[in-house]
């Protein structure tokens, strides 16, 4: 047998503290003719704001799911905060996910509890004491401008308000990286801008953000790096 060169070249994370997340030569296929992602490499630097664009079905959500360990790569390595993401290591994954905030197009709020309880849920599952939860939830709701709706059921809120609740839930634990999967996909242009403005403000306070959208108009509103997914490849390379 001839020696096989490894498909994945070693990916060193030298600047551990600076890179919060990275993909090294990651390939992910769902059994289609073309892989969804093909040898994608990407490094996200602390304190940056990234747009991730691409047509529908180009693999934006898949890339985010790889980062939060919901999907496993066929090949390549995914790292968060310098540690390899391995969905099978339950406790380590839980620890890594506590440093992430995730929001979605469909908000994923739980309809059987109030706005405040939805936000509190993120802290409750971490075993944080009740008094502290209450205080942090208040702060988070204030930050997204929804203190007055704390006891309302999420269904009674508008789309933009629901997304703000989900942002509050994502940031209440003090994450280092916010993964936003088309957070404005269900919202009208004006509300979308408000949500973007809110996330932008959080970024200005130090949060690293990966924001996927196929709304190019949105990407022009704030001057940030744009990564573009096309045919399973990342077209705008990370850092020159």
């Amino acid at each position: 047998m001839t020696a096989v060169t490894p498909v994945v070249p070693p990916c060193e994370s030298t600047s551990k503290g600076v890179i919060v997340a990275e993909l090294c030569q990651v390939t992910k296929s769902f059994g289609g003719a073309l892989p969804c992602l093909h040898r994608v490499s990407l490094q996200l630097r602390r304190g940056e704001f990234y747009f991730l664009t691409g047509a529908s079905g180009s693999g934006k959500s898949t890339l985010l799911k790889l980062l939060c360990g919901q999907v496993r790569p066929d090949q390549g390595i995914v790292r968060l905060f310098g540690e390899e993401v391995n969905p099978q290591q339950d406790r380590r994954m839980a620890q890594l996910r506590r440093r992430l905030g995730v929001i979605f197009q469909d908000f994923k709020l739980l309809g059987d509890r109030s706005v405040a309880d939805n936000v509190a849920f993120a802290l409750l599952v971490r075993g944080i004491p009740k008094a502290e939860i209450q205080q942090r939830v208040q702060t988070a709701l204030k930050l997204v401008g929804l203190s007055h709706k704390a006891n309302a059921p999420p269904q009674s809120l508008s789309g933009g308000e629901q997304q703000r609740v989900s942002i509050a839930r994502a940031i209440v634990g003090g994450p280092e990286l916010l993964l936003a999967d088309e957070p404005t996909g269900n919202l009208d242009p004006q509300t979308s801008q408000q949500i973007l403005a809110l996330i932008h403000r959080l970024h200005q306070h130090g949060l690293t953000v990966l924001f996927t959208t196929h709304d190019l108009a949105l990407t022009r509103l704030v001057p940030h790096r744009i990564l573009h997914l096309h045919h399973g490849k990342l077209e705008s390379p990370t850092h020159p």
Partner: protein
């Protein structure tokens, strides 16, 4: 970095279990009843087999072989016969009752007193010497009896073995049937309860997804489910015991009015004990936990 506390806090658990039960709706009732039916059948199978065991035991007191000595046996040979019988394997105890004593006892039993002149019926003692031999165990009775019968000087042998082995085999059948029935029902119950839990997992998928994403460990996510299943199983055990206790009370009352039952096992109670109740509840809890494990194993929760 925050510490991962391995076990969920009550602040988290109680509301989640409550929600999960609420979400399950009537499925919870189905699970409880399925467990209860199984454990009810088990409980009665156990009680009946205990009852039969006690009956065998109480009859076992009368379990002895009576050998009648031939009247023609010379007195000189009596001692050697005694020795031979005592040496037989399986003999626990041997009592020689000579015919005079036996006659006196019989008369007393029958209430015949010589003063009353009732003895004209028999001028002479019609009895022969009698030997009561207790076997060590039930299976030894029949072979022992036939060995005794072969001894020189023994006229006839009597024993009660048939009825007893009959009772014992009934007990064995009851045990076997209960065992098989409970095994089959347990498998059915575990399959049913785990299917119910899978449905509940499905209904709770949004919560489970959120919990995973915000950094809950699998232990935290699924402990409420284990607690739910354990309480449903324990509830089923309790229900089985309560119904079993009620029916056993009724039956006991009815039985104590039946003369034949009193004669058979007067000191036996068929009432379900508290101990049995505790056992059924624990078994129910175990069934619930096993079902949860199965439900989780057959639910794809790992990322692809």
């Amino acid at each position: 970095m925050e510490n991962l506390s391995p076990l969920p806090t009550l602040d988290f658990l109680l509301p989640e279990v409550r929600r999960s039960l609420w979400r399950g709706g009537w499925l919870n009732g189905a699970a409880v009843i399925a467990v209860a039916v199984t454990l009810f059948i088990f409980g009665w199978g156990w009680q009946v087999s205990q009852l039969l065991g006690a009956s065998v035991e109480s009859l076992g007191n009368r379990l002895e072989i009576t050998a009648y000595v031939s009247p023609t046996l010379p007195a000189a040979k009596v001692a050697s016969l005694k020795e031979q019988l005592a040496a037989l394997p399986g003999v626990a105890d041997l009592t020689w009752i000579d015919r005079d004593r036996a006659w006196a006892e019989l008369q007393a039993d029958l209430g015949l007193k010589s003063e009353q002149g009732g003895l004209d019926l028999f001028d002479t003692n019609p009895l022969s010497d009698e030997i009561k031999i207790r076997a060590q165990s039930l299976p030894q009775v029949a072979p022992l009896a036939s060995q005794i019968a072969q001894k020189e000087g023994i006229e006839s042998v009597q024993y009660l073995e048939r009825a007893l082995t009959g009772l014992q085999s009934v007990q064995r059948v009851v045990r076997g049937v209960t065992f098989i029935l409970v095994l089959l029902l347990s498998l059915t119950v575990v399959a049913l309860v785990s299917a119910i839990l899978r449905l509940i997992i499905l209904v709770r998928q949004p919560e489970i997804e959120i919990m995973t994403l915000v950094g809950a460990t699998q232990t935290w996510i699924y402990t409420p489910l284990f607690i739910q299943a354990a309480s449903l199983g324990g509830g089923g055990g309790l229900l089985a015991w309560m119904v079993g206790w009620g029916t056993s009370q009724q039956l006991q009352q009815w039985l104590t009015q039946q003369a034949s039952f009193r004669a058979l096992a007067s000191n036996v109670s068929i009432e379900w004990s508290v101990g049995l109740g505790v056992f059924l509840i624990i078994t129910g809890v175990i069934l619930g936990l096993v079902s949860t494990r199965l439900a989780l194993q057959t639910t794809a929760s790992m990322p692809k």
